[in-house]
């Protein structure tokens, strides 16, 4: 399958089309009135399911296979803010707070983008290291910590104190937020249970999984769509950044994945993780610790530009890249 076919197949998947429907609903101001608890419930389900499956995979592959690529993933997450921050400051002319905030979002990861990528791989029947969700788990926090440090101006000798209650709450959230806890917890459970546990809960955690993702993307489409109106407010620089940053990070992640010995599917997933921007963990932690940053900038870039770009074009692109590098 060549790149164009892959892009087309991806664009015509239920997941992406439901996302488009959600955007349409938001843009045409037809509130589908999804209950708040549905959003949370779907998130809990997706994180638990992906974590559990990853854990069962770790059980089968052994921790020995996982630690090195996981370490690379952590390094990637921590490094991305370090290159995005100066670009945001110098090229984008952003304030220290805003640059740090955005850097935190782009270093951290989006679980749903990752899940959409695994579904894509399942669709094109490309195998991947199913323990890859471990990378997802370890990449969420480091970038947030680095980004917050940058946004509080530590580079310029800025004030940063652990006694600041905002920073205290934010760091607690970043290090062991609910997303990480669910993901790592379910992964530990999967690793302890192995195949026997999977047999018991497969009808819940696997059978309906892809359909649940489609429903969730419908909701994400509405969330992203409501932000589209803010695109005017963020300026041309951020529009470009929202596409270029995931491309750079994504190809970097793919290359690193290949280098550390991951399969084509696994390298593609590491690329997708690098390319993705957090819109759950990072926003909350950043809001608490860098309140002077304007959340419209980071959220609009992450949700209304990078997220749609990744799930529509990024995923097949990084897949193609992973295939190329392997040959």
């Amino acid at each position: 399958m060549d790149l164009l076919t892959a892009i087309q197949a991806n664009l015509l998947s239920p997941a992406v089309l439901f996302f488009v429907l959600g955007i349409f609903a938001a843009v045409s101001k037809r509130d589908l009135k999804f209950p708040e608890s549905l959003y949370t419930t779907l998130t809990i389900y997706l994180l638990t399911a992906i974590g559990f499956k990853g854990g069962v995979a770790i059980h089968q592959a052994g921790i020995g296979a996982v630690w090195l690529p996981a370490l690379c993933a952590i390094a990637l997450g921590a490094l991305i803010p370090l290159w995005t921050y100066p670009v945001l400051r110098k090229v984008g002319g952003m304030s220290v707070a805003d640059a740090g905030a955005i850097a935190a979002h782009y270093g951290s990861v989006s679980a749903v983008t990752f899940i959409a990528a695994t579904n894509f791989l399942k669709g094109v029947q490309e195998p991947y290291e199913s323990y890859a969700s471990a990378f997802l788990a370890v990449m969420e926090s480091p970038a947030i910590i680095v980004g917050v440090l940058l946004g509080k101006g530590v580079l310029g000798g800025g004030r940063f104190s652990l006694s600041d209650p905002g920073i205290r709450h934010a760091l607690r959230d970043a290090v062991l937020g609910r997303g990480v806890l669910l993901l790592v917890g379910a992964m530990g459970i999967g690793a302890l249970c192995g195949k026997r546990g999977m047999d018991a809960v497969e009808g819940f955690f696997v059978t309906p999984f892809q359909g649940v993702l489609a429903l969730f993307l419908l909701e994400m489409g509405m969330v992203a769509g409501r932000r589209l109106g803010d695109l005017r407010k963020v300026g041309a620089f951020l529009l470009v950044f929202g596409v270029v940053a995931p491309l750079v990070n994504g190809f970097g992640g793919v290359a690193l994945g290949k280098w550390v010995g991951l399969s084509t599917g696994g390298a593609m997933l590491l690329g997708v993780l690098s390319a993705s921007a957090s819109y759950i963990a990072a926003p909350a932690a950043v809001r608490l610790s860098i309140p002077e940053a304007n959340p419209t900038f980071s959220l609009t870039a992450a949700l209304a530009i990078t997220f749609p770009f990744n799930i529509s074009f990024g995923i097949p692109l990084f897949f193609e890249a992973a295939k190329r590098i392997s040959h």
Binding site: F34, E36, H169, Y279, I280, P283, A284, R287, L288, P291
Partner: protein
């Protein structure tokens, strides 16, 4: 019936602040609070509740007038500038003043 005057402080703000504000209320000397999720709109745009980030929260506290004043001052000092927030005080009467 013996009614006693108290203040009812109402705060509407970003959901992300819930834990911090409850902490602040305790530091100011309040003995309890009631909270629930709301949606709304104000100077900082419409707030629905689909992402915690854009969620909205209402917190109500009954407190002695002096405590209520301290609470407002703290909110002003710590939150008003940077966060979407509204706070107001009203008069209420209670039967058991020692509870507050």
């Amino acid at each position: 019936m013996n009614l006693h005057s108290m203040k009812l402080v109402t705060i509407v703000c970003e959901s992300v602040l819930e834990e911090r504000i409850v902490e602040v209320l305790g530091e100011c000397g309040a003995h309890g609070h009631t909270a629930f999720d709301v949606r709304g709109g104000g100077s900082q745009g419409t707030r629905s509740a689909d992402l915690v980030e854009s969620g909205n929260l209402q917190i109500q506290v009954i407190a002695k007038p002096a405590v209520a004043e301290v609470i407002l001052q703290r909110l002003h000092a710590d939150f008003f500038r940077d966060y979407a927030m509204v706070a107001y005080v009203g008069e209420v009467s209670v039967l058991r003043p020692d509870k507050f």
